[in-house]
Symmetry: C2
Subunit: 150 residues, 2 copies
DNA sequence: ATAAATCCTACTATTTTAATAGGATTTCTT
DNA sequence: AAGAAATCCTATTAAAATAGTAGGATTTAT
């Protein structure tokens, strides 16, 4: 029941882009540094996100990446589906597979995995990059207050 | 975001035992046949469940496995945790790891994975083997009705 | 005695994961 | 025009996890 680093890194990278949305293109080098991720590996990850249309790229010096939509229009689910494939704990509840589970009629467990899938989707489709940025600002504020009072 | 076959098979095997609860020990051979799982592989899986105290075994001819508790006292979550480890999409929300995420203070994504984890747990800890057996009986009834009307 | 079962350790092929390597191309800046 | 800073692209690889297999030792009902 694990998310690979690809999904984790992807969400963190997109979050980073969201935090700098409206400030022009952000280079991978900066993202990789701030998020402590291998730049080369991040390249592959963001390539997927670009092909899926979640980010736009600008080549050449002073180039970089920009979210293709407003942070409020991109959810964590969008990112995870691109990098990890459809959310389905097991294949027989994968809605993209047309062939049915061979033993579907007796597959009572199928209902369970469907419920797990639905609950995961409800969470990740309900959180946008804008939500994350907002939350991070709240945290930073709380931190600042704390420091001040020491 | 996948569950390995170990977890899937384990739940199906336990479900099988639940369906025959009260009828004496059930051999792996029967479970493997009915659930269409390699008997040898199932052996390894059930060994984990036995060591965790979820099933009791009876050796020798006419032996087999019996749930250690009533089906209503065993949840899907119990089974999955034994076979797949703690439910945590990423390590920094794994409550069993005492060491904290190195960049926890800026780890806004941590909150997301925690929410995902919680929603998964709410589902799998809320379903008992007894629920599954009941549901399967309902399905069988519906199926029978359907056949009758053809 | 035999057969049916659990128990146990080790091995292995395949796939996935998580990168690394090495360059080709594009574009801004000077 | 040169150089630097970036994206883009393909291939390779080491390590781990996955999904089993193999082969027997032990226990117990019949």
């Amino acid at each position: 029941m694990k998310l690979s680093t690809k999904g984790q890194y992807g969400v963190r990278a997109m979050f980073d882009l969201a935090q700098h949305f409206g400030q022009g293109p952000v280079s991978l080098k900066m993202v990789a540094e701030r998020q402590d991720i291998s730049e080369h590996y991040l390249e592959q990850i963001i390539a997927g996100l670009r092909k899926a249309g979640l980010v736009n790229s600008i080549r050449g010096a002073q180039g970089g990446y920009i979210l293709s939509k407003e942070p409020s229009a991109i959810t964590v689910g969008d990112i995870i589906r691109v990098l990890e494939g459809p959310v389905a704990p097991v294949d027989c509840v994968n809605e993209e597979l047309t062939e049915r589970c061979a033993r579907a009629d007796q597959c009572i467990t199928k209902m369970i995995w469907a419920k797990v899938r639905d609950s995961i989707e409800q969470v990740i489709d309900g959180i946008t990059l804008a939500d994350m940025v907002k939350e991070a600002e709240k945290m930073r504020f709380a931190e600042g207050n704390y420091m001040y009072h020491i």
